[in-house]
Amino acid sequence: MNNFGYSISPSSRIDLDKRDNDKFTRIVLLEPGFRKCMACGLCSSTCSGANFTDVSLRRAIEMIQDGQEKSAIVLLKGCMLCGKCNIICPRGINTRNLIRNILKVYMEELQ
């Protein structure tokens, strides 16, 4: 193909139709609280890892719901599973279980 010194930039728009639904339902089965998240940001602000680097469960949950698993995993790789978010979540979501399962389910295909 010809190169004219510029290229077509791919659309940054998320397409919700292309979300991997069976992985999403598996996560919901493993941690039913997942759907209760109201994105209040308490977990990501109390996060021990977030003191040092970019870890955010709130954004990761939102990304998973939008089918952006790869960027969600990057956000959770730094999690030390210390449980502070578990204590503080106002919706009573088992956040540790959620993080663990997101990493497990979405990392399967990477191995």
Partner: protein, 334 residues
Amino acid sequence: MNKEVLIIGGGPAGLECASTLLMFGYKVFIVEKGSELGGHLRKWDRLFPESISASETLERLLIPSKKAIVFDETEVSSVKLKDGFFDIILSDNTELHVHSVVVATGFKLFPAEKKEEYGYGVYNRVITNADLEASFKNNSRDILQSKRVGFVHCVGSRDEKISNRHCSKVCCVTAVKQACEFKEANPDAEIYCFYMDLRMFGRGYEDLYLKAQNKYGIRFIRGRVSEVAENVDGELVIKAEDTLISRPLKVTLDLLVLMSGMSKNPDNDQLADMLGLDIAEDGFFVQHDPTINSIKSKIKGIFFAGTVTGPKTIPETLNEARSAALAVHKYLSE
């Protein structure tokens, strides 16, 4: 000789105010523009937050107000204030001579076609909350079988461009209620709610929100819908942004419900001139003392009840109707 009161508007506010005044022994006239009493309540199927039946609620309002004299399909043509009395001429030119007037003309549902970019009236699968309520009422399978459904909050509210800066207060909780009812009617529907702020302020509303998420798996996306278009197969393509991760997103839906807000009743302006009252910038009547006495108007003997002075839930409307009746009673017994 019991004194006479005119109530303009036969919706829930008018009816409840009438029944309370009847209880006080006044002679009550109700002027209703439409052909039937009940106002918008007649069109709803179930009411938030517990999805109680709207028709039963209407019945409970109609019965006690049965003795009021009703002029349906009539409007007020002119009003003259003469030493404590109101000489009213109606459109069927009956003349009334009343001691007090209660304005309960309510609101108008925002005409969703004004938001052209949402394509109401242009795309067949775009309906409003009122249409959905009607679909629940007569169980129209065609609508309720839609697989992917979207609810668009703040249609015609909090929108400078259509001069409705106010928040209509009830559409968020209505959207969540309808979303849950839709999921019950069609369990394998995938439902999205596009919201900017989810204002679930009332008692029991947060539980409804939690049930919507937890039990029904309804997906709440924080971002107002910008455009709606039809793709080649006639499905709706929705464009919005997930502002929680600041990424634009699009989704293909089979049905889009626009949550039309409460905007002013267009007849208010004409009515205001007749009664000598003022209309605020948001199109609702100006209350004389909004904090202490929200049902009082600046003219003695004229009172307000219900959504004529701004968006309200039905419980709030009924409370205000009763307090308006009390104010009339207090005024007339001076």
